[in-house]
């Protein structure tokens, strides 16, 4: 009998390792290359002197030069203070905002939600100029008024210090943190909160003792992400820190690879980067620990419940005020300043004379200065990066959440790793790879290299969101497809994808925005052929063409509001059975 059954079974037998296992293996290998290759380059770079492609013996000279210099440690301290401060500022705004928008009956939630997205479109430089106009110790309007009102000798507030830098950078990170945390709060079972209220615990206490601890893994993830991003960014350090001689690590790496005189020193950049890398890996380790610890109370949504909103009662208006204060800093004031500056022939504070000079000249001539290339390149980035990232993320999450492949945990950690890899380092590593091995990797100086850098960076972000989206889709919906006899690709395409489409689209839009505004990597990988809008903005700022940049900013914000608004509207129906 057994012979007969064997013969019958033979044609359709699947032998381990299954197709899924092979696929997961391939995915892991690809990701390993994407994350590992730039990392290896940084290590190689730090061990060589000279130029990419020059070869030469391995040496520890760079480390000796960098770490024997006492100034390096001052810079490290600055970097840590700046990054920690930034994270604190971001979380102070982001966590309460997430709770207010996702869980309560705060008025005008929809509008606030949209405005958060709009804020991202204002380039950080211009936002920073707004803060200079307001808070510069000499010319800042706030300080001038304070001087007139209270007769102060000294400026009331100053921007040019580490708290000032952390404040500006922190505020600009809030939307990222917000959207990353939103998913965690959305999937939290409201019964957990309600149980606290029925036990007589106040709303604030519930928020602090229930919501925050339960979402701790998510907050930890965001914190690591923010910290590593804060270590890597250099817009605010360049505009606010640099003038006051406050150097941070990213600024050193940037000046090492883009010195004002002489030749780039990739070796020093690598040696500075090594410490970032170590910090990143330490953070990644702690993150994984926290997440594993948190898994025992990870809350997964039940069947078809709709979270009830918490009535804020008399706290409604103070809560709204909190949101408005944030939005003023994030959107209203910067946009107002943007419009003001864009109408002037040159940068100046409001005055009767300035009002007399208002014209639309900058808008008329902006495209003569910029040309079409940066717009085309930016459009390519804004489409290619989120698409590639989301495809990767969905596949990775599917393996991690849905299959029982033995190394799925490692795959998840691998996908998270770019979070811990500072963007500037990734970019410098890729640039080195592109220069040193241009025959095998001929993308240096093309828009593709920026797209690759962005995709690698945001796979971490993408997989965090697709993981939570995927968990929300009940496993049995997929199994029902398989039982129906549909193949794995059919199940993915016909069942999983339509179910997660709305969530994926939200992440897609978001990554598109992040890609649009990212400047650190785009600049480190930039040549004249792969200029994007964000690097044009940086160049204009460097040339002192601020009104032109402002005009560009106003045009982009208005354009993006139309596009994003339209897309969101079009997809809102998709979201009905999603959330």
């Amino acid at each position: 009998m057994s012979i007969a059954t064997d013969a019958a079974a033979a044609p359709s037998v699947d032998i381990k390792p299954s197709g899924t296992g092979l696929f997961a293996g391939g995915l892991t290998a690809l990701l390993l290359v994407m994350v590992g290759a730039p990392l290896a380059m940084i290590v190689l770079m730090s061990l060589r002197t000279g130029f990419p492609g020059e070869g030469g013996p391995l040496t520890l000279a760079n480390f000796a030069a960098v770490y024997s210099h006492p100034g390096t440690y001052k810079v490290l301290a600055n970097t840590l203070l700046f990054a920690s401060g930034t994270v604190v500022v971001t979380l102070i705004f982001a966590v309460p905002l997430v709770w207010l928008l996702m869980r309560t009956d705060l008025p005008f939630k929809g509008t606030i939600y949209v405005l958060m997205t709009v804020g991202i479109l204002i380039p950080v430089f211009l936002r920073t100029i707004a803060w200079i106009l307001l808070l510069s110790p000499r010319i800042g309007l706030v300080n001038q008024w304070a001087r007139q009102l209270f007769g102060l000798e000294q400026p009331l507030l100053s921007l040019y210090n580490i708290p000032g830098m952390a404040f500006i950078q922190g505020v600009s990170f809030v939307p990222s943190a917000f959207f990353m945390l939103a998913a965690a709060y959305r999937t939290m079972d409201p019964a957990l909160e309600e149980a606290a209220y029925t036990s007589g615990v106040s709303k604030l206490q519930t928020f602090l003792r229930i919501n925050v601890p339960i979402t701790l893994p998510a907050i930890a993830g965001v914190t690591v992400y923010l910290f590593m991003t804060a270590i890597a960014v250099f817009e605010v350090p360049a505009i606010i820190g640099f003038p006051a001689r406050i150097l941070v690590l990213s600024a050193l790496i940037f000046t090492s690879t883009n010195p004002p005189t002489g030749l780039p020193n990739y070796g020093h950049a690598g040696a500075y980067g090594a410490i970032m890398l170590v910090a990143g890996l330490v953070f990644a380790y702690f993150y994984v620990r926290i997440v594993q610890h948190g898994k025992k109370y990870t809350v997964i949504t039940g069947r078809g419940y709709r979270p009830r909103e918490i009535a804020l009662g008399r706290w409604r208006w103070p809560a709204l005020a909190f949101a408005l204060i944030y939005l003023s800093m994030e959107v209203f004031i910067p946009f107002l300043v943007l419009v003001w500056v864009s109408l002037l022939p040159h940068l100046q504070l409001p005055s009767a004379e300035a009002f007399a000079q208002i014209s639309l000249d900058n808008f008329e001539h902006i495209f003569d200065h910029v040309g079409a290339l940066p717009f085309i390149n930016t459009a390519v980035l804004m489409f290619a990066v989120p698409t590639a990232t989301m495809i990767f993320s969905v596949l990775v999450s599917w393996v991690v959440v849905r299959t029982n492949v033995s190394f799925r945990g490692s795959l998840d950690t691998l996908a998270f790793l770019p979070h811990a890899l500072p963007g500037i380092l990734l970019a410098v590593g890729l640039a080195y790879l592109g220069l040193a091995y241009r025959n095998y990797f001929p993308v240096y100086g093309t828009i593709a290299i920026i797209a690759i850098a962005h995709t690698i960076t945001w796979i971490a972000y993408g997989t965090r969101t697709t993981n939570s989206i995927m968990i929300q889709v009940h496993r049995e919906l997929e199994e029902a497809g398989k039982v129906s006899g549909a193949s794995t690709p059919t199940v993915l395409g016909r069942i999983v994808l339509p179910l997660i489409a709305a969530g994926i689209f939200n992440s897609w839009i978001w990554i598109s925005m992040l890609s649009y505004r990212e400047v650190t990597m785009a600049l480190a990988l930039g040549t004249r052929k792969n200029l994007v809008i964000s690097t044009v903005v940086w160049q204009f700022w460097g040339n002192g063409w601020v009104p032109q940049v402002a005009a560009l900013g106003v045009i982009l914000v208005l354009f993006a509001v139309l596009v994003v608004g339209g897309l969101k509207l079009g997809f809102s129906r998709l979201g009905e059975w999603q959330s």
């Binding site: 381990k16 919906l477 497809g481 039982v483 339509p498």
Partner: protein
């Protein structure tokens, strides 16, 4: 139709290996309605999912319709989608982005065997008729009630006329009245289709009423496989006795071939090599008569009475032991009354403690 031999599955956790299945052996005949019954965590769902191919056992062999579908030792695994099965999930797993027709038609359009448009329409129509959902084809899945979702899930599972139908606690999310109604219908549908059914539940009433045979599981092992009346009347061990139906349990000691307990010394067959035993008797087998002093009868006092309409449950105290008795609802025995209690020896079950 389904043969399971030595099925084992374990999970490696930080605290070491956890066994989910410790070697399951089952043989399910064609067109049989076979129920896996047990408390949560007993391994019944894991067994079902192994049959479906949604889980892979670590050892053992699975055979469906004479074809080995899974055997880790021989490196054979037939993927779920290639097994000729239908399945109803606990959550129903109705795809929310499709309407009723699309849900039911999916296995016919994308599944093992694909059919033309007209055949699909015809088959879907028949399946929906079977579950009494005629005319609801265009209803979006999100607009269905729980009972309707259950029916759609059922229709989707049988639409391909599979050899095997798997059901994972399909009624547990329905309210009590609907559940009983669906139970009857479920049996009718499976009969009508003539499919071999493997059904998982933790509800013993459901198991007894639906199953041609019932398999009681606990801790990853099979405790007893038998017809429902056999399981009820002759539970194989103490756990089955506790889990299936109500029972009175009394501790006893074996002394020279007889059992001593608070109710006296009983001459009953004693299980081999045990000195401490548990005696068990079902409440409906405890006989009570108002007249005291019947010869050989025990005397007890009624401690409480719980009137259920068709029946009454009485608690009787005898020699410091409380026994539960189930009588017809119209009994006139009242609380505090002294009664004689008869415990027929043939009704006693004796288990080693």
């Amino acid at each position: 139709m389904i043969k399971i031999r030595g099925l084992k599955k374990w999970f490696d956790t930080r605290r070491g290996r956890v066994d989910a299945l410790r070697g399951i052996d089952l043989a399910i005949a064609e067109k049989e309605f076979f129920v896996l019954l047990g408390p949560s965590g007993c391994g019944k769902t894991t067994t079902l999912r192994c049959v479906a191919g949604l889980e892979r056992p670590d050892a053992g062999e699975l055979e469906i319709a004479g074809r080995i579908v899974n055997s880790p030792e021989r490196r054979i695994y037939v993927a779920t989608e290639k097994r000729d099965i239908g399945m109803v999930f606990q959550s129903y797993a109705i795809w929310p982005h499709m309407n009723v027709f699309q849900n039911v038609a999916f296995p016919l359009i994308r599944g093992r065997k694909r059919f033309g448009r007209e055949v699909v329409a015809e088959k879907v129509k028949r399946a929906l008729h079977l579950v009494h959902l005629d005319g609801l084809e265009d209803r979006p899945a999100t607009d269905l009630s729980g009972g309707q979702q259950q029916r759609v899930a059922m229709a989707r599972a049988v639409v391909t006329e599979p050899k095997i139908l798997l059901m994972d606690e399909p009624l547990s999310n329905l309210d009590a009245r609907l559940r009983e109604q669906m139970r009857v219908e479920l049996k009718k549908i499976t009969r009508a289709v003539g499919v071999t059914t493997l059904y998982v539940t933790h509800d013993q009433a459901e198991a007894l009423s639906l199953g041609d045979r019932v398999c009681v599981m606990h801790g990853g092992e099979v405790l007893q496989t038998a017809a429902p009346d056999e399981v009820y009347a002759r539970p194989a061990n103490l756990f089955v006795a506790e889990f299936v139906g109500e029972m009175n349990f009394i501790k006893g000691k074996v002394a020279s071939g007889r059992i001593e307990c608070p109710l006296g010394v009983l001459s009953l067959p004693v299980p081999a090599a045990s000195d401490a035993v548990t005696l068990a008797i079902r409440p409906e087998h405890v006989r009570i008569s108002a007249s005291d002093g019947a010869s050989g009868a025990l005397v007890g006092t009624i401690a409480s009475k719980n009137y259920l309409g068709d029946a009454a449950l009485l608690e009787i105290e005898i020699n410091g032991v409380t026994l539960l008795a189930k009588l017809a609802g119209d009994t006139d025995i009242t609380v505090g009354q002294k009664t004689s209690v008869i415990l027929p020896p043939e009704r006693w079950r004796v288990f080693p403690s």
